[in-house]
Symmetry: D2
Subunit: 212 residues, 4 copies
């Protein structure tokens, strides 16, 4: 397909919104499924590494990068020294730091390249992914697996109608399911870190940006 910035302006009237509701329900089912499959030993190891690192760096491409940023913001609220790879004042990574990569497929080219550099530096690399045996999975100190559909699964070009009867049923397209489950998981790690550190919500608020 070459470019087609087609006009949507002739579509409608919108008569129902049942796909919105069924998609939300599918996402909930998917989260419930992942909760059952989480490896609690890996979660504990990941929490310990985050607590042990001198600085925390997060990285991800596209929507996984947005999830990485959302996690980094909360870590900052908790008092961690944390940076997003690629932002303006992000310093050099050192061996005592921990780097967290988010990649549904574990194969995102730029992130895998950075992962190799991180391992050359000698830092701890944690990858949050749905694919344990991926490029990033293989080089990471901890692979935190959130099982499920990644961007390149089911990519035969079938319509989403067809997918309703497939393995991933009513889920939104591409890596959406992974991105949501990784946000839910990482925000829940924050809840655990709050308990571990003994933080209160007002501690978090005191660090929240006051000039936005």
């Amino acid at each position: 397909m070459e470019r087609d910035q087609f006009t949507h302006m002739k579509i409608g009237p919108v008569k129902d919104c049942e796909d919105v509701i069924s998609s939300m329900k599918s996402i909930v089912e998917n989260i419930n499924e992942v909760i059952k499959l989480l490896d609690r030993e890996d979660i504990k190891k990941m929490l310990q590494k985050i607590l042990d690192g001198e600085m925390v760096f997060v990285m991800g491409a596209g929507r996984s990068g947005l999830v990485a940023k959302a996690f980094a913001m909360r870590l900052m609220h908790l008092g961690f020294t944390v940076y997003v790879v690629g932002e303006t004042t992000t310093p050099a990574v050192k061996s005592r730091d921990v780097v967290i990569a988010i990649s549904g497929s574990g194969e995102t080219g730029s992130i895998a390249n950075l992962g190799r550099i991180v391992k050359d530096i000698g830092s701890t690399l944690i990858t949050v992914t749905s694919k344990k045996e991926s490029t990033l999975g293989k080089i990471s100190d901890i692979v935190m697996v959130l099982p499920g559909k990644a961007k390149n699964d089911h990519d035969a070009g079938g319509s989403l109608e067809k997918n309703i009867r497939g393995d991933y049923k009513n889920l939104p397209p591409l890596g959406t399911a992974f991105e949501i489950i990784s946000l839910v998981f990482l925000d829940s790690l924050i809840a655990q870190l709050i308990t571990l550190i003994g933080a209160t919500e007002s501690d978090l608020k005191a660090r929240h940006t006051n000039i936005e």
Copy 2:
């Protein structure tokens, strides 16, 4: 509190991760609750306005801004001409465009200021918020309410332990619940738009960035 970039490096060993699991379950319950309370007429109006706009602009501060970006990226994959307010090549908003603001409290200063400008231009303003009667809610053409805890609710500074027995139980801190539910909701709008437009997953892939 003046600044205290305290060291986490003495905390541990991490012995359990039950808060991770209970937080994930609370998030699921929260999504299920919101599904029941959604106003389907507002959803249909919002979908129609998105289809009718010449260009779509999204905006939000902090983590709500990240959710706005995640939504914008998928709209682009669907073939919409869409921009994030504040990014480099975002052009001027015109009266035929639709602007979508994401704000849990509906009171974020910078976003409310921009909302007023948007209404002066004569564009359509849609606000996704948990507070219908907020500053942004009052000036918007459509207020898409996702009910629940916003950043400034329950801000008496109590520990999260205390919150477990409060209204919001085990939810992660600050605006987390709203940010997750807004991502889940907007990704589900995408599922509906795919049906309305008749797009396939391979259409979306063809527009997905090929240089990341």
Copy 3:
């Protein structure tokens, strides 16, 4: 003007590039002019405040925001704890911090609003601007004036041809002249800070991101 995303694809062949050369020469003349007009007492005060602050925050909208980021990156290379307002892990500003605003006109709405908040917090506010008597100029602790054309000067809609015979001759459009001079000035502040701190180029390189 409503929207006109016109096609450039029929323009050409490009026969000369004399405007490129004359514009570069005009920019050089403009820098030379500003060098003569700089207030050295203000420069010294600005340097001292940057050295005295606990953390440094920078902010600006549009291209001035890009200049702010370029400056912040070098301050980080020098070992300062520095943040860009609006980036992911930027913490709360405290009274012992210094905030540097870049605004050619000194009237950028969002930046002026943030400037007022900064002064309410009790932090030091430095504005780099071409307009001493602007909104931001009036509330700042230090106004570092870089004299010259700002975005809203000469905005009668005349063609740039006409401007060649005007006050600003051959300068590029809008706030370009200010943005360039502010980058040149701030990079030269870095040269002075290097001397003051006694840094070497290899110190800077050691802090330069190693994962890009």
Copy 4:
């Protein structure tokens, strides 16, 4: 060097600012030098390719990336359909597009990788660099050379004092000289494009973001 976030707060009082002035003068000399060395045939070819492309994409890492964004913003003001690689709503690159890479050394790993992908897609690749014979230079359709010091030149770790008597005299550290000259050059390309297209300053203002 492992990490040393040292305190600057004991340095001063700042007694002079002569390095600021001499650095600014060195930057001016450097721009003057580059003006003489520019290849006007390459400039014309670059202008023609920008006019001929369906969409324009810009990319760069670090401060070169900020220069790329500053250029992209002005191209948008001129009515081009232009995107920054890595921003939220940047679509897929197609063969009819032109991609402009900014890299002083021409060796930035991530940008060189993307350059190779761009050439595989069949798009036009223009690199703005100080090194014609670099990795990026070798694979580009047009290499726009801005001669001078790049980040990795003179990296023996000598103090900048020493550099005063070296080849690059009083220039600010790392790739600063290239970043400034590339901004000056690209803004001057804009001046030429304005003439070629017949735009007025009010045309540009009409496209300038109205919600910042």
